[in-house]
């Protein structure tokens, strides 16, 4: 469904992605792990055109991703994104955040958008917070609203950019369980994460990225439990046993 072929990207003189080739099948959950600055987030941002890429090709269901072309709007409505810092619209209530896209981008009738918006908030466990503005919600609640906002576009896939990294540790579980439910329901997901437990339990495929290249990839359990590459082994040892 999502294909990346030899994708290169540099910021000025710094090469961030040096030939990324990967594919994500429908209903597959792919977790991208790796150290900070390795290019994980850049991959997500290239997939939905928040960043342009210099070389190679990215396609979503056969349509080429080009951040400078009008076609990017259609791709973005099919591939939603959830950010590390939520990026909810603070001047709108939780419900208004969720129905913003359906109402103003997809031009859905208001009643229909509201009904589905409420259902989505209920799905992420926030039915009672529909009229609350984001600054009055906890980080975990905000991220769940952000997930509902992404779902409201009825996307074919959702990209998650470190969705739990900005959360208090005790709030991480709520967000991960919503994500696990999505995965169980067959949503195609690409997740940049440091939550190795989530990756091990939920991911079909894990990519370990370092220095802008995929160092190792494979089934979640094999990459996380029996990493082959010394760099992956070193990274996982440090993440799982920091002391």
């Amino acid at each position: 469904m999502i294909e990346l072929r030899d994708v290169h990207k540099s910021f000025g003189k710094v090469d961030v992605l040096k030939g990324i080739t990967a594919s994500v099948a429908k209903s597959e959950v792919v977790c991208i792990i790796g150290p900070s600055g390795s290019g994980k987030s850049t991959i997500l941002r290239c997939i939905n055109g928040l960043e342009s890429y210099d070389r190679g090709e990215i396609s979503v269901e056969g349509a080429r991703v080009d951040s400078n072309d009008r076609s990017i709007v259609a791709i973005r409505t099919q591939v939603s994104m959830v950010f590390q810092r939520f990026n909810l619209f603070p001047h709108r209530t939780a419900l208004e955040n969720v129905i913003e896209g359906p109402l103003y981008v997809k031009k859905e009738p208001r009643e229909q958008a509201i009904a589905r918006g409420r259902a989505l908030l209920a799905q992420v466990g926030l039915a009672d917070k529909a009229e609350v503005h984001p600054p009055k919600l906890s980080g975990g609640q905000q991220q769940r609203v952000a997930i509902a906002r992404a779902l409201a576009m009825q996307p074919k896939a959702i990209l998650f950019d470190e969705p739990t990294s900005a959360l208090d540790p005790e709030l991480v579980g709520d967000v991960l369980s919503v994500m696990r439910k999505l995965a169980d329901d067959g949503m195609t997901m690409v997740v940049v994460t440091h939550e190795m437990g989530f990756a091990r339990d939920v991911a079909d495929l894990v990519l370990f990225i370092d220095g802008g290249v995929i160092v190792e990839q494979g089934a979640a359990k094999s990459v996380l439990n029996q990493p082959q590459h010394p760099r992956t082994q070193d990274f996982l040892r440090r993440v799982l046993h920091p002391l």
């Binding site: 939905n48 055109g49 928040l50 709007v73 259609a74 973005r76 409505t77 939603s80 994104m81 950010f83 810092r85 990026n87 909810l88 619209f89 603070p90 001047h91 913003e100 896209g101 103003y104 981008v105 997809k106 906002r149 992404a150 409201a152 576009m153």
Partner: protein, 217 residues
């Protein structure tokens, strides 16, 4: 003091005619400067090279010319190009253009203060540039823009007196005319000053209200 009140009773009705023109000039040029300022600011943040360049150049040219020269130019020079305006029209257009530069810089600062993540979130739900501005950026930028906007309103109220230089009989010019024909300078200009102050006070309170509201959020 008694003499002052006696003068006040005599001159206030004439000065009020000037107050009316002061309000017309201020409100007219405020509206014009707001619309133009928003256009310049949106051009400036559009990311389109030519629009950014044109807007930056315009703002610098406007900022670099004194208001009074701009007024003279519009009122005395434009007729040479076949554009003859009444003094009132010229005053509103001149002040409106002059202040559009300050409005634009204020709007731009407000727009640029909005977190980039907000724009990205709007893009990821498929919003284009204009929809992102209208639904996401501008409603949030307003909070930041309003307090300085109120200050610009106060400055414009006072600078509307420059319209007197092109014969608009607003408050300052009315005062000058009465003073020069009656020689009652103290009474007349005290009244003029008090009237400007009276008009400024609601605006000053409005600015304070905006500031409190912005700080609360």
């Amino acid at each position: 003091m008694q003499k002052f009140f006696h003068d006040a009773v005599e001159f206030v009705p004439i000065l009020l005619q000037g107050v009316w023109l002061t309000i017309v000039v201020t409100v007219g040029s405020l509206l014009l400067s707001t619309v133009l300022g928003l256009v310049w600011a949106l051009m400036r943040v559009s990311g389109i090279g030519i629009l950014v360049g044109v807007s930056a150049a315009l703002i610098n040219v406007i900022r670099g010319i004194p208001i009074i020269v701009l007024l003279f130019y519009i009122y005395f020079v434009m007729p040479d190009f076949g554009i003859a305006l009444s003094a009132l029209q010229a005053a509103i257009i001149g002040l409106g253009i002059a202040y559009s530069a300050y409005q634009a810089e204020n709007f731009r600062a407000g727009i640029e203060a909005i977190d980039k993540g907000q724009i990205e979130a709007a893009q990821t739900i498929g919003m284009g540039w204009w929809l992102t501005m209208r639904r996401v950026v501008l409603p949030q930028a307003v909070r930041i823009i309003l307090p300085p906007y109120g200050n610009i309103m106060i400055m414009m109220l006072k600078d509307s007196s420059q319209a007197s230089t092109i014969t608009v009989a607003e408050l300052a010019l009315q005062g000058k005319l009465i003073a020069s024909s009656t020689f009652k300078n103290t009474s007349v200009f005290t009244l003029v000053a008090l009237m400007y102050l009276t008009m400024s006070i609601p605006l000053i309170l409005l600015v304070r209200h905006f500031e409190n509201k912005a700080n609360r959020k």
